[in-house]
Point group: C2
Chain length 241, copies 2
């Protein structure tokens, strides 16, 4: 039996009851070392398999191998396991191996929602998620989605917005969006949501400081109606007050 569990952005209280329960029911916990650290005190009595970054296939294969021995395994992702997380890969591996192992995907609060509650209410209207990592997706596909999302006036949440190896991806994405968006379009940046280093920045398309953004940052770009009021970013739904 495998639980694929999203533990939310960081804080325990942003986890669902179902996620806590799945972790409690598991014999073995499998996850990326950084996420394992976030739940350390929940898994003191468990067997733990930690792996490093970019070891997703090994990690999921290991989880499947352990489940084959009859143990109950919880595979941990941050945020929601089904959004750029481990859920798809676990299902793909089981599919390929035709293993009749039970799987339960456990819902979590994804990074965009975790960041949005800190910013105010930026996701009140149609929005999309785009990952700016081109490790698994050709950059041309990402560019096309960024362009069309801007043209559609979606609020856009950028996952994996910027890393050392991809220092200019966010800048390129915003340059593409500039054709359709005003330079004053509000942008909300939340670093390390729900962790002790959490930091929130409200800025605009033309004033963003890219140095404020790294891999553990959520960047939310508003639509034409989004505004900043005090320390909050708000996208109106369309009610007339």
């Amino acid at each position: 039996m495998i639980y694929v569990v999203g533990i939310g952005p960081g804080e325990r209280k942003m986890m669902t009851g179902e996620a806590l329960e799945a972790i409690q029911n598991a014999d073995v916990i499998v996850g990326y070392i950084t996420y394992i650290r976030l739940i350390e005190e929940l898994i003191r009595d468990k067997e733990v398999v930690k792996t490093g970054m970019r070891k997703e296939i090994d990690r999921c294969q290991e989880a499947v191998n352990i489940a084959k021995t009859g143990k109950t395994v919880a595979v941990i992702s941050s945020g929601d396991a089904g959004i750029y997380g481990m859920a798809g890969l676990i299902l793909e591996i089981l599919d390929k191996e035709k293993e009749p192992i039970g799987v339960e995907i456990v819902a979590g609060v994804t990074a965009s929602i975790g960041a949005a509650v800190r910013l105010g209410a930026p996701l009140m209207h149609d929005f999309c998620h785009i990952s700016l990592s081109d490790l698994l997706t050709p950059w041309e596909v990402i560019e096309k989605r960024v362009k069309l999302a801007a043209e559609a006036d979606f609020v856009v949440c950028f996952y994996n917005p910027r890393s050392k190896g991809r220092a200019d991806h966010l800048k390129h994405a915003l340059e593409i969006m500039m054709t359709y968006k005003s330079p004053e379009t509000p942008i909300g940046i939340v670093k390390d949501v729900g962790r002790k280093e959490e930091r929130k920045i409200l800025t605009t398309m033309d004033e963003i400081n890219y140095e404020d953004v790294n891999m553990t940052t959520m960047v939310i770009v508003g639509n034409k109606e989004t505004y900043i009021s005090g320390d909050r970013m708000i996208t109106p739904r369309g009610y007339t007050l």
Copy 2:
């Protein structure tokens, strides 16, 4: 003090600890009658203000008025309060009234995520949320977003997909998408996620039965890579197994 709380799709165990805590801390609970019913046993000792459908402004204004008297109010939305929920409206009202009332938005599991875990892993790649309700958004704007989302090959989650008054909106939306998508594109339908009437349907663009869809249904349309395997809908992230 106002908490704006997302209670998730339905089941208690899909709520976050933070949401439970906010409800516990509140003196008064304000919400749409259907959502209030979902958390009845949590709020037996509370003052409760229930209002009917389409009374969003009245409901939020009432919550603000009660908070002005010094009471702690929890405004309840299903799913996440910041996604087509009450968070934006509460902040807009406070903004307009320049009331210095504390507000905390509490994250929840939105309907797309709740449905996705039941379907498998359909949201593993870039996706968007589009509401098909034209009560607050012109239909032309919705049509444009549907077209561009299909062209971008986003996985698309339709909120408010179909009601008696809008019986053909989903059909129109899928017809628009047909220009860019194969008729075999998988569609996942989940009705009443996390409630006792829950039902899951896997189908395709050309075989969907619109009668399976109503207002408490989430409809997820796959991208070019999405496939159905057994009783699961999976969108690969791009790993090579």
